[in-house]
Amino acid sequence: MTQTFKMDEPLPRLLDETRQGLIGTPMNRPDGPLKVSGRADYAADRLPDGTAHGVLVRATITKGKVTRLDESALAGIEGVVAVLSGPNFVRNPAQGMAGESPVQPGPRVDYHGQPIALVVAETFEAARDAAQRLVVEYDDAGGAEVDPDSASEVETDDPDATGDWDEAWGRAAAKVDVTYTTPGQVSAAMEPHAALAHWDSGRLTLHGSQQMLRFNRKELADAVGVDPSEVRILSPYVGGGFGSKLGIGAEAVSAALASRDLGRPVRVVMARQTVFDAVLRRTQTSQHVRLAADADGRLLALGHDDLVSNLPEESFAEPTTNASQFTYGAAALRFQQSVARIHRTPSGSVRAPGEAVGMVVLEAAVDELAGELGMDPVELRLKNIPDTAPLTGQDYSGRRLADCLRQGAERFGWAQRPKAERDGDWLIGCGMAAAARKNMLTKAAARVRLTGAGAVVETDMTDIGTGSYAILAQIAGELLGLPESKVEVRLADTDLPGASGSGGSFGAGSTGSAVFLAARRIREQLAAQLGCEPGELTLQDGIARGANVEKSLADLVQDELVGEAEIASGEAAKSHLSAGWGAHFCEVAVHAWTGEVRVRRMLGLFDIGRVLNRKTATSQAVGGMIWGLGGALTEELHHDPRTGHIANRDLANYHVAAHADAAGRIEADFVDDRDDWANPMQSKGVGELGISGSGGAVLNAIHAAAGVRIRHLPATPDKVIAALEAAGR
């Protein structure tokens, strides 16, 4: 019954033929009023009668074993129900799209902050008190390695390489050979991780805060030892994910286990400190970039090697060199990754894994090369856009990188930019960077039901604040000729068709394509009823026209028409390299005495193929640019050098960019395109493109303003001062 479509070849641009006019408009989110009035029920907002409250207990050693949980200190606390631990407890969240339980270490402790037990009580207050008073006895193994730079266990891949490196490097007219470092970071989603679990006749229902329900269901089922068909997960509203809710984690598994043991609903909400401790961080990186060019600025050699970190047994390694492998071409290329195995909170996907930290460094290094060559950095980039993907030889799908660079420069006023100007004690300068982020299409299914009254979209896709509710309504409304008010979108329930979930910037494109295909099936049925070819059918404002017949949908649809479809990646992903592209331009002020950096204005111009919703796409892009700015200037995890434990475990001390950091004029816009090889809608992902490279533009602007290169992020005032003093200023 379900139509599965494999993306092998481009489809006709149906969205350019339809008449409703919803696609691309800045339509408001239908869920917006609920969210701003506090009526959207997030996972922790539900509290059925009889719910018990669980609070996670963290390990306070780095490596060893829990030998005993001493509950004697809890005797005086009223309402303590149980202290739970055991073989099903998980060490950390599942990595994205794992589809199986994360590591279940039993009594073993692998990092300081690992969740090791759940205290359940009648009230949240009692549970928290008991969790803090519980005495945990350990067998401390000691000697755990927590520093990636001195780790004894480092796994190094064989390099991905092409060309004759020594030859290319040897004949270069200009070279850059630099090492940059980026610190550990976290997703810092506003909503802490939360779960409410209850069991009914052996069937588990979990209200959680998750990004990818199709996978989360399998992960949770595996963790608690039941068949996935016995698990239902609902996540209708998610207060930010950024990768931190890709996989099932300790809050959900412990709530499910406790609820089963106790025979009542159990709610577990992570404290902010626990979110820092027990949710996957972004690894710190050390990146060695080598660039060589001829006198005309053509790249001869491009090398990008990294050192990242993770716990033993965790498969994820930050793909730092992603964009370096396909953005520019060179005769010789070399990419090599090393993973240090250390006992810190494990690492995983945080917004734009790879590009977010890799492209900052690549783009800063390209700026350094422009300096060596005495060449305009926009010009240098334009000169090095390859004809085909350098490592794979693939054709590119839509790629308006050159337009983004040229048009962005024009709109920013790059040619007339302030150079080495002063405003009082502030030094002014501008920098730029390219943006690139791989575009992916993943398996996704959706169902669309059409009645005379309107349409309903059903899929287990999530909306993590990105705008899925709006975009999917726009797609269905556009194809079925219905205004937004006539389309209802039901999301984030595993009883509905399994979608892509939200992650990797592929949600709107993948699940949106499934909705598109499902609605297209309904169009075919409507055409048959009207007696015309689907290509002759016009649908607008509830009226169907075709074969010289005009009928309202209310007359045409007696009962209900159902379309269900699934999309999957196909030959197009092999024949073509698809990516989002863009260019960032930034003006900063650097205080000559205190080293403070303020971003005065920033412009990002992006190619994301067809824009589905101008408002939500702009919000995604601007949000990403600001995050990139924060990565360049403020964000940094501090780890205790002895235990590896995160020392700055709250939002007062872990510095995401605040409003005042983004107080300048920050604008994003799009070169409207059609990427025929990307998906049936010709759209591409936007969520992670804005952060890709934006920090590089900030660093390059600092150099233009103050003449110093900050190679160890973030560029906090102390580092700027040290660089200024080293330069005798």
């Binding site: 306070t60 207050e125 928290r128 008190d129 803090q132 400190q273 009082g424 004690d425 205080h591 005495w593 205190t594 080293g595 403070e596 303020r598 924060g630 200037l633 403020t634 501090h638 780890h639 205790d640 050098p641 002895r642 434990h645 020392a647 700055n648 475990r649 007062a652 001390n653 510095h655 960019a657 605040a658 409003h659 005042a660 950091d661 107080a663 973030p714 906090t716 005032p717 102390d718 001062i721 040290a722 003093e725």
Partner: protein
């Protein structure tokens, strides 16, 4: 959070009678509630002084002002008299916390807020301030935000207040009510203790004492005042270093230079030798650099915060340049009326 008794005091006498070693005062609650949730502080009783009459006003006190302990940070910062005569105080307040927190936080509570040393906030790590005699995990730990002056081998924590730094530069006094109902006013250097071997005892207040207000001396006529805070992001971050300055230049010479420094010590830091170097001299970059060098000569940094020395020196030079007319004043630097 552990269960606790809550009492609401109608008068200072009532509040004083209910205090003691296992009790704590609550006013705005912006700090103590966090500390109680994390069980860093576990008072058995909270005495709420929030409705005690007479503590929420700003009133004339001779040529100066008396600011009640319950005056909100946002109200104090916005007060027209403060902005005109003591603008450094307004600037310091507005550089602290967030709008929401300033709307709740009080003058007395701001003075008494606890350090943000990460080891004080983590019960799994040793902290002499939290548990006397336990040791100090910060010494070999993460030290970016720690103090460089006035520390001891038992504690490296910095005081986080911005407001108190401005008060120190203004030579303000803290009004303290003792258990017997008597009141005295103390300069900040006498109100705050240095940690020595008892970092848990941060002030001379004692378990029964209550801060009732702050007394500002007469405004310094014709002064230029500045609060400059350098931090890891543009707002809502504690100071890496901060400088409060109240400077008067007369006849081409620095007549008066009251300076205080934040983010660098267990209390608002001041250095008389630096002031002595500046007063009576003509403003000059070389003089400012020498004064800054003098200031950091006695610093004892943690390996993670050696950067605070050049940062403090440069920030001081920048502030002195602006307050003495060598550079154009920027936002945060204000001139007061010549006639008070």
């Amino acid at each position: 959070m552990r269960p606790f008794d809550y009492t609401r005091a109608g008068t200072l006498d009532e509040a004083g009678a209910q205090l003691g070693k296992t009790a704590a005062v609550i006013a705005g609650g912006t700090n103590i509630l966090d500390l109680m949730k994390l069980q860093i502080m576990t008072p058995e009783r909270l005495v709420d002084i929030g409705r005690v009459p007479g503590l929420d006003g700003i009133e004339a006190d001779g040529d100066g002002l008396r600011v009640g302990a319950l005056v909100r940070n946002s109200d104090l910062a916005a007060d027209g008299r403060i902005r005109a005569g003591w603008p450094v105080l307004s600037r310091a307040l507005l550089s602290g916390a967030s709008g929401q927190i300033r709307n709740k936080a009080t003058t007395g509570g701001n003075l008494l807020q606890r350090t943000r040393c990460p080891y004080f906030y983590d019960p799994a790590m040793a902290c002499n301030k939290r548990e006397p005699g336990a040791g100090c995990a910060a010494k070999e730990g993460v030290g970016r935000m720690l103090a460089i002056f006035g520390t001891s081998e038992h504690c490296l924590a910095a005081h986080p207040s911005d407001m108190a730094v401005a008060l120190r530069a203004l030579d303000a006094k803290v009004a303290v009510r003792a258990a017997d109902g008597s009141e005295r006013t103390l300069p900040l250097d006498e109100f705050y203790r240095l940690p020595a071997d008892r970092p848990d005892i941060e002030t001379v207040l004692g378990p029964d004492g209550i801060v009732t207000g702050v007394v500002l001396p007469a405004p310094v006529a014709g002064s230029v005042q500045a609060y400059r805070k350098v931090r890891d992001r543009a707002s809502y971050a504690f100071a890496l270093v901060s400088v409060a300055a109240v400077v008067t230049v007369e006849d081409g010479r620095i007549a008066r230079a009251r300076l205080a420094f934040g983010g660098v010590a267990p209390r608002p830091w001041a250095n008389d030798a630096v002031t002595a170097m500046l007063e009576g001299e003509a403003p000059d970059d070389a003089l400012f650099r020498a004064a800054a060098d003098r200031l950091t000569a006695d610093a004892a940094p943690h390996p993670d915060n050696e950067f605070k020395l050049p940062m403090l020196r440069r920030t001081l030079v920048s502030v002195l340049r602006e307050t003495t007319g060598l550079a154009e004043p920027s936002i945060g630097t204000d001139r007061t009326d010549a006639a008070a």
